[in-house]
């Protein structure tokens, strides 16, 4: 599973509260990604990182910020959670091949 862990695995929070999700990898991969998965929408890219302190926006970045201060950790923050951010969040890394990605186990976030 490419040594990727996500924490927490489940979280219930209230609207307006800040939330931080953590992705941790053990294999020194340069590229890391955050996706959200919703019924009918498949996987949509939120933000990605191509190195320490190097991040960029994806398709659905509004309401999210990220940070990568160490190679192994990529944090996703919802500054003020909204019910529309209820989703399953997956972290991924780019493998050593050309473009394939390997995903973490996911975090199920519910915003009430």
């Amino acid at each position: 599973d490419a040594g990727i862990t996500q924490s927490p695995r489940h979280k219930v929070t209230e609207t307006g509260t800040p939330v931080t999700l953590r992705c941790h990898q053990t294999e020194n991969h340069r590229y890391m990604y955050w996706y959200r998965q919703d019924p009918g929408h498949g996987l949509r890219l939120i933000h990605y990182s191509y190195g320490v302190k190097d991040t960029d926006k994806g398709e659905v970045s509004d309401g999210y910020s990220v940070s990568r201060s160490k190679t192994e950790d990529f944090l996703l923050t919802l500054e003020s959670a909204t019910s529309s951010q209820t989703s399953v969040y997956f972290c991924a890394i780019k493998g050593t091949g050309v473009y394939e990605q390997y995903f973490g186990p996911g975090t199920r976030l519910t915003v009430t």
């Binding site: 590229y31 990604y33 929408h41 498949g42 996987l43 890219l45 050309v98 394939e100 995903f103 973490g104």
Partner: protein, 111 residues
């Protein structure tokens, strides 16, 4: 932006029947990847195709990349209950080679 369309959205089959999902793009793709996600699980990389007309097999799974590199298919022969899940295609797009995923085909198999 670049999109990949995947059909069908759902497929229900009897165990032993074949299954095919299709991925289409209006633009030429540099490569196509396929992922499987079991219920409650995470997407798992299956294979990547890069050459025009390429065909690859993994046991009962056959993957094809179209001659024009605008479409791809995944065919499963004689489905088993272990094949249940959602199958996604993905293509690279953007300056950093990020993946653009199709919306997936959810396969259910009746024993």
């Amino acid at each position: 932006g670049q999109q990949v369309m995947q059909i069908p959205q759902y497929q229900h089959v009897q165990e032993g029947e074949d299954f095919t999902t299709y991925c289409n793009s209006s633009t030429t793709l540099s490569n196509i990847q396929w992922y499987k996600q079991r219920p409650g699980g995470h997407p798992v990389f299956l294979i990547q195709l890069v050459k025009s007309g390429e065909v690859k097999k993994q046991k009962r799974l056959t993957f094809q990349f179209g001659e024009a590199k605008k479409n791809s298919s995944l065919h499963i022969t004689a489905t088993q209950t272990t094949d249940v899940g959602t199958y996604f295609c993905a293509a690279t797009g953007g300056s950093q080679g990020n993946l653009i995923f199709g919306k997936g085909t959810k396969l259910s198999v009746k024993p």
